[in-house]
């Protein structure tokens, strides 16, 4: 046995202090079941979704607190893989397994904001103010720089001085509407995240 003297005393000494009461039969009454944590998903609401990260398209089940009743603000408390999904079969990678911290990230944006020219800070604004201001800036730029005909007199109807980078994880429905709007304005500086 590989044990030095100091360790020996440590075992005897602390062990003595710690458990002598129990050894003499003075233990508290056993409560066997209490060690197991309650299962937290027993009555949560389940919603099916798809992981927003890579393109494997793993199925998710999002568990939210509350039963959807009028007085409940559904709060997602857990996300795990959808076992029925033919690709991920319930599995998730580390990013997917940690999706809860994306949904509840402290860096989620909550309100429209503006940073004025030269300013070093954000200013909270309302949605109407934000959208009105942006629409006005767009229109002023489009009206000033829209090209109906090129130098050769050909009809080209394009607007090059404002551009739009579309998302990589927004839904088809968002993307479709974005394309419809952007092209109706004549924009060509239009791209997505396919390459990077």
């Amino acid at each position: 046995m590989d044990m030095n003297r100091r360790q020996f005393f440590k075992v005897c000494g602390v062990g003595l202090g710690a458990s002598s009461m129990a050894a003499l039969g003075m233990a508290p009454p056993p409560a066997y079941a209490e060690t197991i944590r309650h299962f937290k998903l027993a009555s949560t609401r389940e919603t099916r979704n798809t992981c927003p990260y890579c393109s494997v398209g793993c199925g998710l089940i999002m568990y939210s607190q509350g039963d959807g009743g009028k007085n409940v603000a559904q709060e997602i408390i857990h996300i795990e893989g959808d076992a029925d999904h033919p690709v991920n079969r319930g599995t998730l990678c580390p990013k997917g397994a940690g999706l809860l911290d994306f949904v509840h990230s402290p860096n989620r944006l909550k309100y429209p904001e503006v940073r004025e020219a030269g300013s070093g800070e954000w200013k909270r604004i309302g949605w109407d103010e934000a959208l009105d201001s942006i629409a006005k800036l767009m229109k002023a730029d489009r009206d000033a720089n829209f090209v109906e005909k090129n130098a050769a007199g050909q009809t080209v109807n394009r607007w090059l001085s404002t551009g739009f980078l579309a998302a990589s994880a927004s839904s088809n429905e968002s993307g479709y509407l974005t394309h419809k709007v952007v092209r109706s304005l004549g924009m060509l500086a239009f791209d997505n995240q396919a390459r990077v």
Partner: protein, 810 residues
């Protein structure tokens, strides 16, 4: 992906090259594990780094970054020289017998028709097939014609000898031959190799051609259209496949329709140019239906305002004066002060684009920038001085920045398209935080305001704005279901079968699929390839039947795949010319049952065309067969050729002495960027950037759980180089390119080994992305501070994967 994730289990051999599936797509990689476990498959990984995929591979081969065409070109040479090709497949399903025009040539690194001043091939007229008097392409089934594709291919790659390839790639010859030999085994009919690649191929100045070389190998081996085969692009984001399908790119319209150029003033000429007629007798050439798709799109967008009289609102589409306004071009324009406004919808360009200094300077020249994002991105704060990480003069930046909070996936309904082309519907589980809104509501809110302003004030070319069809029940926030029904398509008048006259869809009904689209304005479909996603029977994308009756993993009842719910593209090629599967036991996909095509997948073919009719499997091509010779489709030439990265550690191209042909002669490069390329004398190490499995792009640095598992920026350095430089694991190092520097922790590893290239020792430095100056992970430098602003000749994808750096201990 030509195939899809679960189908990988059918592979006999898996080649991961130009990607790192275990790292970036772990849950998809599970199907490699399954192929190994249940199909005795072998896994081969070819990569500059011994990476997470390599950690479970049967065979790993190192390769110098940017030299994959040499490796695969050598493989083509090897397959031909050793007669390891799937002869029946190649002869019948590819263009090997097609005779190429006289005048096509290749000499000293350049194809015919190069214009050095324009850095391109303006005249590609000789890059095509000889057309006979009957109007069809000339073929020589004996393959004896010196200009038939097979002989040209053989000649082109005969230069790629094992010795030369090994010297270019740095792959030890013995290892390389082991890899080639294993791959060659899948030339047997019925054996399939899948190739899994990602941005490790795309992000080079020759990225598109790397992918093409991979596809050519697969054709020679008869692996395209096969279960367990295919060319599988592992897309990097959850819906980048869908957003590309929907045409959210400068030069596209939904469903891979294309915008007109300035010269295309005439509508019928525009349609005519895109309506490909068969190049061989009896071929389907599906693009001959182009106008049906185009008119249905214009009806979906402009409704009643798109009429036959106004050419379906043809003039309302913007026309292109250049091939496209891709992001490199637009940021170059912005850098030069030619752009006033810019929108970033869920996109973080200051982190995601090359040469951060240039991107930051460009953004600072905008008048207004609009951010739509769930997270506080680095781009939204490009004006904030974050010390060494973003050292800017805030007060001098005059850009007004709006930051609009959006919902994330959990807070909205909608569909995403995965790499396997599956459109999967998802459901909202909770309200977003604060006042966040959906992207749909923001786009609708902006559009409603713009339309009102144009109605009230008038303005430049208001017609398309005033006439855009907006039939939504809530104009400020169209429902995802309404939009999905719109892109899937509906009948505007009764649609009948032209042969029988039977009504296929009544006016107002959803269409069953793109076969019902019409060019007369009686149908509307916002994206023809998505047609059938929401039929009269309801939302097909929400289907959840995962039954797999044949055990082939095709699960046709789960969600909906484009096109037409097909799971494997070109699947007719999984059967021999007589219509029977190459392997009738383990590789059953579709077959001819005497009356029609059917099987475990939806046939990618004309369902009632008997094998003896001679229709070939590649129905989108006018030839009916797959192209080993790319005709005029590629910027740098019909056959891929190895060109060095723009920042090359060896300074020459061992294949040819021509100084014009060291790097891709047709790559996109701007003048101000040419000036900031580094040379090997000053920046001696080959660098490559990549993702880590613990993080997703620049999002998860905002997530605590991800930040815990990979908290701090690091770079990977091989033991030999670390020893040379006196660097120990855990030391801080400075990595610099000619565009800037980053500082990070050194991870010293055996997994990066020096390679002998062209007689020199080349060390790689591995640089993960993911860090920035916002987030809950430790702040770090933006890796793209280092990368060069130069793009692939076809896609303009930046060369993130190959550039030069220097490394010093801090």
């Amino acid at each position: 992906m030509t195939n899809h994730w679960s189908d990988i289990k059918n592979a006999d051999l898996v080649l991961i090259m130009g990607g790192n599936a275990a790292e970036a797509h772990p849950c998809g990689f599970k199907w490699v594990t399954e192929a190994k476990a249940h199909n005795k498959a072998r896994l081969i990984v070819v990569d500059p780094r011994f990476n997470r995929s390599a950690s479970v591979a049967d065979l790993y081969a190192p390769i110098r970054t940017g030299t994959d065409i040499a490796f695969l070109g050598g493989l083509i040479n090897y397959l031909i020289a050793n007669d390891k090709i799937q002869h029946e497949y190649v002869r019948n399903y590819t263009d090997v017998s097609f005779v190429v025009k006289e005048g096509f040539g290749f000499e000293d690194g350049l194809f015919n028709g190069y214009d050095a001043a324009k850095r391109s091939y303006p005249d590609k007229s000789a890059w095509g097939y000889e057309i006979g008097a009957d109007g069809y392409a000339v073929v020589d089934p004996t393959l004896s014609h010196p200009r038939c594709v097979f002989n040209l291919l053989k000649k082109h790659y005969s230069r790629y000898t094992p010795e030369l390839v090994s010297s270019i790639c740095g792959t030890p010859q013995e290892t390389m031959l082991k890899v080639w030999d294993a791959i060659a085994e899948t030339a047997q009919p019925g054996k399939a190799m899948t190739i899994m690649y990602a941005l490790g191929w795309t992000q080079h100045t020759v990225g598109s051609q790397m992918i093409r070389t991979g596809a050519m190998v697969q054709l020679l081996l008869g692996n395209i259209g096969m279960p367990g085969g295919g060319m599988n692009a592992l897309r990097g984001h959850s819906n980048i496949q869908g957003l590309t399908d929907l045409g959210l790119l400068s030069n596209l319209l939904p469903g891979y329709l294309t915008l007109p150029g300035d010269a295309e003033q005439d509508y019928s000429a525009y349609i005519g140019k895109r309506t490909s007629l068969p190049l061989r007798p009896g071929q389907l050439s599906y693009w001959q239906h182009y106008e049906k798709f185009h008119v249905s799109l214009m009806k979906a967008w402009f409704g009643k305002a798109a009429t036959a009289e106004n050419n379906w609102a043809y003039d309302w589409l913007p026309k292109l004066d250049v091939p496209g306004y891709d992001v490199l071009k637009v940021f170059d324009m912005m850098f030069q002060g030619q752009v006033n406004g810019y929108f970033c919808q869920g996109f973080n360009p200051i982190a995601a684009f090359p040469n951060k200094a240039k991107v930051g300077a460009a953004l600072a020249r905008l008048k207004y920038l609009v951010i739509m994002d769930p997270l506080a991105t680095d781009t939204s704060e490009f004006w904030r001085n974050a010390g060494e990480f973003n050292d800017v003069d805030t007060a001098a930046i005059q850009t007004t920045v709006f930051r609009l909070p959006t919902t994330c996936f959990a807070e909205e309904d909608g569909s995403l398209v995965n790499s396997g082309r599956w459109l999967q519907w998802h459901w909202k589980a909770a309200e977003p935080p604060g006042e966040a809104r959906t992207d749909i509501a923001i786009m609708a809110g902006l559009f409603q305001r713009l339309r009102a302003l144009y109605q009230k004030e008038g303005g430049a070319f208001a017609a398309p704005i005033l006439n855009l069809d907006w039939p939504y029940l809530r104009p400020d926030e169209p429902g995802p279901d309404e939009l999905a029904r719109e892109f899937s398509g509906k009948a505007l008048a009764d649609v009948s079968d032209p042969a029988s006259g039977a009504v296929l869809a009544k006016a107002g009904e959803q269409l069953a699929g793109f076969a019902q689209l019409r060019a007369d304005g009686s149908t509307a479909s916002g994206c023809w390839i998505f047609s059938g996603a929401w039929t009269q029977a309801g939302n097909q994308m929400a289907r959840r039947d995962n039954a797999d009756p044949y055990g082939m993993g095709q699960t046709l009842g789960w969600a909906w795949a484009w096109p037409a719910n097909r799971r494997i593209l070109y699947n007719r090629a999984s059967a021999d010319p007589s219509g029977q599967p190459w392997d009738p036991v383990k590789k059953r996909l579709v077959w001819w049952n005497g009356k029609s095509w059917g099987g475990t997948d939806v046939p990618d073919f004309k369902a009632d065309s008997p094998p003896e009719a001679g229709m070939n499997p590649f129905i989108m091509n006018p030839e009916g067969v797959a192209r080993l010779f790319a005709v005029g489709m590629m910027a740098e030439g019909p056959f891929p050729e190895h060109y060095e990265p723009f920042e090359t550690p060896i300074g020459r191209n061992p294949l040819h002495g021509n100084a014009q042909a060291i790097s891709n002669p047709a790559a996109r490069v701007f003048k101000n960027d040419l000036e900031v390329f580094g040379q090997a004398e000053e920046f001696p190490y080959a660098a490559t950037t990549y993702r880590l499995t613990e993080h997703f792009h620049y999002w998860t640095k905002h997530c605590r759980l991800a930040a815990i598992t990979q908290p701090e920026q690091f770079v990977e350095i091989g033991e030999a180089l670390a020893m040379d430089l006196g660097i120990k694991a855990g030391d801080r190092v400075k990595v610099s390119s000619n565009r800037g520097y980053i500082k990070a922790v050194a991870v010293v590893t055996k997994r990066l080994r020096p390679l002998t290239v062209d007689g020199k020792t080349v060390h790689h430095v591995g640089i993960p992305i993911h860090w920035g100056f916002t987030g809950v992970a430790k702040n770090g430098f933006i890796t793209n501070t280092l990368t060069p602003f130069v793009g692939d000749g076809n896609t303009q994808t930046p060369e993130f994967k190959s550039f030069l750096v220097n490394v010093e201990k801090v």
